[in-house]
């Protein structure tokens, strides 16, 4: 026995009787559910009909193109990305205002956060949508944009914002989501700034840095590292929350799924498929963010 010899193994956790019973129960429930659907419900499954709404073969161009559901997923993704960017900007400003010395700014940000946190999201989205689409858009000239102008009718624009004809619609949904999620990001930012100890402010003050310099050079760089993981989580939440804007006719995944379900009458297949699409999307991002976080944590050592 010497200290350089390989360590003896620790006892392993084994599969116990309890695990077997539980696994058996779960399998039993699944079998029963499948039996119910097949024998009692009498439902004619037709996956191919619905799957063709993800991608279809375009006879004219002779290649596979994205169909409604995949297009919807891209719109959902675009919505989530742009709304997260805008919501982060709102959140950083409001989060800073939550903590700053000016009373008016504190009241504004507090009111914003409390209003949004205490109204059901769907109610908020209805109020907000009818307000912006009817009041703000004509005001800033968004409703009189020329969709066929070369600025909008190009590949880059389509990649970033989707169909130019639906641009106004897209922006409405995006702002709705951003203002809504911004309130949650405000709280994330506030918590991030608060998590930086008093000592950092004091050290900055002691060497004569201005309030702005302390915030920019000392506090925010540290706060951002703490904010990024919950912000990534909020992005995934936003992907799921974006389903709500289907109610104001934004043509994202849930809205188009509704149409597919209505035209094909294959309700089960459609929604199971759409659920799977959301799951893949969210799980993918959760996985990527977790990996990035691990790498970031290692780099900070």
């Amino acid at each position: 026995m010497d200290r350089n010899s390989p360590p003896p193994p620790l006892p392993r956790r084994r599969v116990t009787l309890v695990d077997l019973v539980l696994i058996g129960l779960v399998i039993g429930m699944i079998v029963y559910a499948v039996y119910r659907v097949n024998d009692v419900l009498v439902y004619h499954w037709n996956w191919e009909r619905v799957l063709s709404f993800i991608i279809r073969f375009d006879e004219e161009s002779g290649r596979w193109v994205a169909n409604l559901l995949l297009q919807g997923m891209f719109t959902t993704l675009r919505l989530a990305v742009w709304a997260t960017i805008l919501a982060t900007i709102i959140g950083v400003i409001m989060g800073y205002w939550r903590r700053c010395n000016n009373l008016t700014l504190r009241i504004i940000s507090r009111t914003y956060v409390e209003l949004i946190r205490n109204i059901p999201p769907i109610v908020f989205i209805f109020i907000f949508y009818f307000f912006i689409s009817s009041q703000i858009f004509p005001l800033i000239g968004l409703s009189s944009l020329r969709y066929d102008s070369p600025y909008m009718d190009n590949d880059l624009f389509r990649f970033m914002f989707g169909n130019p004809r639906l641009f106004e619609n897209f922006i409405a949904g995006m702002i709705c989501l951003a203002v809504f999620e911004g309130a949650y990001i405000t709280e994330i930012v506030r918590a991030g700034i608060q998590s930086i100890g008093k000592g950092q402010w004091e050290a900055g003050r002691a060497i004569g840095l201005s309030h702005f310099n302390i915030l920019r050079d000392i506090i925010l760089p540290q706060a951002i590292r703490k904010i990024l993981p919950p912000l990534a989580g909020q992005f995934i939440t936003l992907i799921k929350d974006s389903a709500m804007v289907s109610l104001i006719s934004i043509q994202e995944l849930t809205f188009l799924a509704n149409e597919v379900a209505a035209t094909t009458t294959k309700v089960f297949e459609t929604w199971i498929l759409v659920g799977a699409m959301y799951f893949v999307l969210c799980y993918f991002f959760a996985y990527v963010f977790a990996k990035l976080e691990q790498r970031g944590a290692r780099a900070n050592r």
Partner: protein
Amino acid sequence: MNDKTASPLKVPETKAKDKPIVEVSGLCKWFGDFCALFDINFSVNFGEKVVICGPSGSGKSTLIRCLNQLEEHQLGTIRIDGREVKPGMKGIEEIRRDVGMVFQSFNLFPHLSILDNLTIGPIRNRGMSKSEASEMAMELLDRVHISEQANKYPMQLSGGQQQRVAIARALCMKPKIMLFDEPTSALDPEMISGVLDVMVELAEDGMTMLCVTHEMGFARQVGDRVIFMDDAEIVETADPESFFNNPETERAKLFLSQLLSH
């Protein structure tokens, strides 16, 4: 001109040695209803080294934190180099640049390298170029015996090394006075002497220093005066030898006996 003058720690020779740099009169400070400082009067001359000691909660830290307005006082006046320091005043940054401060918990900026910890002050406040500031920072790091760590991050250094970096960071602003808030209290015993050595060198170079510390050896070696505080007041002021050997007040005797008993 001897070579001591060229050292970066060397304080510019002041014309009037007896001119006060810190003048405090009638200073009172409350935290809520709790009176932390009551009717504090003292002054510190250029080049003087003053040690503040006293039991915990006696207001020592609060006192030196009022000097650069990390704490705001309610009553009394504070002057630093002739300029009055008031709560909420404009231009407090200017005064803070003349007053270096070293904290018990170092408070280095963890996201910046050691070198950047030092240069951020001169670059942002004095508009110094990055290379100029780095050059000065390296000289100072050399003086606190830590220049080989310049590109590391604070977390990679021991407590004693971090505290020496913190001293160098404060010196980077070329302060007229240095405030030390229990600089060795958070350190492992074997780290203390390295920090004290740097402080002694700084004192020998003529820096004006105001130290809250219980290091009696340090107080005896460099202190011109000891201020003993208890219960928010200055109880006794004396030179170190007579304070540690023959304290006048009962409270100082009690404090010293507790300090020595372990």
